[in-house]
């Protein structure tokens, strides 16, 4: 009887303030979508880091023919210069940072290059002599790029030392900025949600003043009087959370799995299963939201 009665009271309350209920649902939906987007972006970043930082290399390009760099004044890198560089890399304090070193000759570079770009209009203007030989160095700790740079940069025969990580940093920067933006918007929307839930509960309590007055009079407990209001907020917020889960799932499915995932395949992407991982967080936030708002609002109605 009790349970059924509370349920019917909640139903009445939700229906009576239908437009407010809908607005609570929408605001929690939008705010939690931003929260979820922020979390998913961070998941994407850590996924990229996990995958890429293992593959990241330092490329030491050796002088090709006709380079204008001062270190290349002597023309194409000679066998002696290459040996000298190998010797530097073999020094104990440098070698300890290095996981592996591969040497890529001009010809190997040309083969790889022609695989990728042979269909471009400018390809015919190039020859194997335009390629650079290079060392591909993999570090045990990708952050230690500077050590190699200090040792090799400016050596005769070295045209350029390039850290591949720097190629990815702008991407991470963009993703991190996007996260910040999401978090900021989520914050604003969450505030709006709290205020809206508070107002909804207050309205609901006002419109049921007669009922609650009688309840108090006949000796209903505070908890019993407040429970329907609390659950009203909680239900609306939870529906918002479920909607945001659906929205994020759809977003990841359409934008990432079906679109980005098909067109740019070399990147490891977050998947819809990651959405399920953050789902409990979203529902938790929604519940917390409703709980805080209810407690704040209802403390004013707890006077017996």
């Amino acid at each position: 009887m009790r349970f059924q009665f509370i349920l019917s009271e909640i139903g009445i309350g939700l229906r009576r303030n239908l437009s407010m209920t809908v607005s609570v649902i929408l605001v929690t939906f939008v705010s939690l979508t931003f929260v979820g987007a922020a979390v998913l972006t961070q998941m994407q970043i850590s996924k990229l880091k996990g995958e890429w930082y293992d593959k990241v290399e330092i490329s030491v390009f050796l002088c090709p023919q006709g380079s204008t760099k001062p270190t290349c004044a002597a023309g194409e890198a000679t066998g002696e210069q290459i040996d000298a560089i190998e010797g530097l890399l073999a020094q104990p304090d440098v070698a300890s940072e290095i996981q592996s070193v591969d040497f890529e000759t001009k010809d190997e570079a040309w083969v790889l290059f022609s695989q990728d770009y042979s269909d471009r209009w400018w390809f015919d203007a190039l020859t194997v002599d335009d390629m650079s030989a290079s060392f591909r160095i993999k570090l045990t700790d990708p952050e230690q790029y500077q050590v190699i740079n200090d040792v090799l940069n400016g050596r005769p025969g070295v045209e350029e030392v390039r850290d591949q990580r720097q190629v990815f940093e702008p991407l991470f920067l963009v993703l991190n900025r996007a996260t910040l933006l999401s978090v900021g918007l989520a914050g604003v929307m969450l505030l709006a949600a709290v205020l809206l839930i508070t107002t909804t509960i207050r309205l609901s309590a006002l419109s049921r003043k007669r009922e609650t007055g009688i309840m108090r009079l006949v000796g209903a407990s505070n908890f019993f009087i407040q429970l329907p209001f609390m659950l009203e907020g909680a239900i609306a917020a939870t529906v918002g959370a479920l909607l945001s889960m659906g929205g994020l799932w759809l977003g990841v499915k359409v934008l990432i799995e079906d679109w980005l995932g098909q067109s740019v395949q070399w990147i490891p992407y977050i998947t819809t299963s990651d959405v399920w991982i953050i789902a409990p967080i979203l529902v938790g936030v929604a519940f917390l939201l409703a709980a805080i708002s209810s407690i704040v609002t209802l403390s004013r109605y707890t006077k017996v």
Binding site: M1, R2, F5, R210, E211, G213, I214, M215, R216, L217, V218, G219, A220, S221, N222, F224, I225, V304
Partner: protein, 229 residues
């Protein structure tokens, strides 16, 4: 059943007290009229007994509890022993007669079978058998007040407080309501009724407590409305 010891109630600091050093006792099963002009403190008295207000000084005892020291979370238990009826009925317009009365039991968590037997019994007792499915606006004033009394009495309280229950009713209807309250009183329920209705008070010849500007000026068994007439 109800005992006031030197009770004063001041609503705003510096204002004239709504109740001024009132001491009185109402025994179990008594029927008491509370009379006096508007603003004499009748409503404050009822609010103190219901613990809607706390006395500024003195002690209020209801059903063996000292309300001055009663903690907030025990107030609902106290109120389950008190029924209250008001001049404006305070019914829920969207609920039927049956639902209005059942509401009082539902919100204190009574089981369904208990409600299903008690509510019809009570409605029968107040003379509303057959009108269970009506809504308040389909009833006359007297019938609405009967619903309110049924709701106040359905949990068999030991005290029934009535704040001008006949204030909105014509004399004939009022008489019916008084008969009903009298019957409830005969079941052993203590009834305290605040009223302006001199005819009723004179007719019933019950104990009369008169308040004037917050002071107890008369406590007379088998009394009449006007004291000095």
């Amino acid at each position: 059943m109800i005992r006031l010891e030197n009770v004063s109630k001041v609503y705003a600091r510096g204002a004239r007290p709504a109740l001024d050093d009132v001491s009185l006792e109402v025994e179990r099963g008594e029927f008491v009229f509370l009379v006096g002009a508007s603003g004499s403190g009748k409503s404050t008295f009822l609010r103190l007994v219901l613990r809607e207000e706390r006395a500024t000084s003195g002690n209020v005892y209801v059903a063996g509890r000292n309300l001055q020291t009663l903690s907030n979370w025990k107030v609902p238990t106290l109120r389950r022993q008190i029924g209250a009826v008001f001049q404006d009925f305070r019914l829920l317009p969207t609920k039927t007669v049956f639902e209005n009365v059942a509401f009082a039991l539902q919100v204190i968590g009574k089981p369904r079978h208990h409600i299903m037997t008690t509510v019809p019994e009570t409605l029968d007792m107040v003379g509303l058998a057959g009108k269970e499915k009506r809504r308040p606006h389909e009833l006359s004033g007297g019938e609405q007040q009967r619903v309110a009394i049924a709701r106040a009495f359905v949990n068999r309280p030991s005290i029934l407080l009535c704040d001008e229950p006949t204030g909105n009713l014509d004399p004939t209807t009022s008489l019916g309501i008084m008969r009903l309250l009298d019957r409830i009183n005969r079941t052993g329920t203590t009834v305290v009724m605040a009223t302006h209705d001199d005819e009723i008070v004179d007719q019933m010849r019950k104990r009369v407590i008169e308040l004037s500007t917050g002071e107890l000026v008369r406590d007379q068994s088998r009394g009449v409305y006007g004291s000095a007439r």
